[in-house]
Every structure is written in structure tokens, then in C-alpha cells.
Symmetry: C2
């Protein structure tokens, strides 16, 4: 039951919450031992803050929940490939695993030749189509 | 009077505040038209949060002060070269200018071949010695 797809659906629900606020629809959750530690969606417009990406908020929130800054035994499910800022934060957090929905060729960390922490496993392409469509539709409607 | 050195001394005072809390001593300020919009120092240990770098806090704080997320006509003075995370945040902020004290060859964004926003001017080496010594002494005493 608690598959990668199950959790990515929850991250997509977060992206949907962002969409309803006219935010770029990106969502993420952090899970440890099948317990949800954090849920977050992009709030850069609402908070007037470029740092308020879903991943940044979730990292802060999960660390707060755990009472420690390292996210060992934690997995992040995120609908879009993290940007440079968020990949840097994930690197510092030493998170165990990051599961990514859609790639972001332009803004994502992978094409910038950045890596996460050596301890971090990366899985790509879980519900890729759904995660990609929600962002593409958002920008199409913006134009 | 309001020279780069003048403002870097203020950033160094922030680094000193971090040191007094046993935090890695890095400080920064954000200035616009000779008005200080934000002062911050590293608080990753105090807040148990890997994202609580001086630069991240200052970006959020200055945007809050301005009521807008873009830091146009703003200059950041930071004692140590920003890391990947902070360079990503600075890139999103479109800040006008970043003045850096000491280089961070290992963790800094420059050796990762990252760039800030095309609009952002970068100045290196203001009070480099003082900015470098405070961090080196901190890690020497940690060992």
C-alpha cells in the first residue's frame, strides 16, 4: 500500500493546493517509517519570498518535528526536480532518499551537474506524466 | 563613509554574534540606498535547521521589509562566499549586487560553476583576511 506512487499522489495533492492559490504547482512530502513528517507546497507568491519553495518548507518542518537538523531515514517525495537552492538544502540535510516526479531540464539541479549528499538515493520518474502536466498547464494558462 | 568596508564590518559583527552562540561564524546584511534592510547570522544549530544560513534569513527578511520578493537595488554583504543553496536563493531574488568577504573553495558556489542572476554584480575579497580568520579559528578550536 505505501508505495512510491501512494506518496507521490500526496505530493501531487500538495501541488494542487498550490494551484488553487495561483502558485506554481509544486508539492512535496517527507516520510519516515511510513509516517508523514511534513507536507508543503510552493508559497513564493503568497509569502513574497523566493525561498518559500515546497522543499525548503518541508525540510525546515521535518527537522522541527524530529528535533534535529539531519533528515536521516527520511524520504522526500517531490513533484518536480528540485532547483539549485533546494538541492543545496537537501545536500545539507543528508536526507536518505529523494523521489522525483517530473524532470526540470532548465531549472533543475541535475543539468547543473550538482549532486545531493553521497548518502542520498535518488529515484526519478514516479508519476512523471501527472507531475509534469500540472506545471505545464499552469504556465500555458499564464501566457 | 558608506563604503563596502563599512558594510562588511557590520556583516562581520553579525558573524561575531553567531560565534558567541557557537554557530559557524558567518554574517550578512542587505542594504538599499544606504538603508539597512536586513541583518542576519548563521543559526543552523540554534534553530536545528540546515536552511538557516545567514543569507537565507536575510533574503526572507529584506523581501518582507520591501513587500516584494525581488531584491532590486539591493546589495548583500556576506562574510563568506555563499554555498549552493544560498547562491540558488540569491539567483531567484535577482539581487543587484553581492559583496563577498572570504572565498569558500570547498562549499562555495563559484567552484561548482554556478552563477547568480545575470543582473547581479559580484565583488570578491572585501576584508577577506578578517572574514577568513574568524571561520578558520572557529574550526581550529572545534577540533
Amino acid at each position: 500500500m505505501f508505495t512510491d506512487k501512494y506518496y507521490m499522489k500526496m505530493a501531487l495533492q500538495e501541488a494542487q493546493s498550490a494551484l488553487e492559490k495561483e502558485e506554481v504547482p509544486i508539492g512535496c512530502i517527507i516520510v519516515s517509517n511510513d509516517r508523514i513528517l511534513a507536507k508543503a507546497h510552493n508559497l513564493t507568491e503568497t509569502l513574497n519570498d523566493v525561498t518559500a519553495h515546497a522543499e525548503m518548507q518541508a525540510i525546515t518542518s521535518a527537522a522541527n518535528y524530529l528535533g534535529g537538523k539531519y533528515l536521516q531515514n527520511c524520504t522526500m517525495y517531490v513533484t518536480l526536480e528540485p532547483c539549485v537552492m533546494c538541492s543545496g538544502a537537501l545536500n545539507w540535510s543528508q536526507i536518505s532518499k529523494v523521489v522525483i516526479g517530473a524532470r526540470d531540464e532548465q531549472r533543475g539541479f541535475i543539468n547543473k551537474h550538482l549532486t545531493l549528499h553521497p548518502k542520498t538515493e535518488i529515484i526519478l520518474g514516479v508519476m512523471e506524466h501527472e507531475c509534469s502536466v500540472i506545471v505545464k498547464e499552469f504556465f500555458k494558462n499564464k501566457r
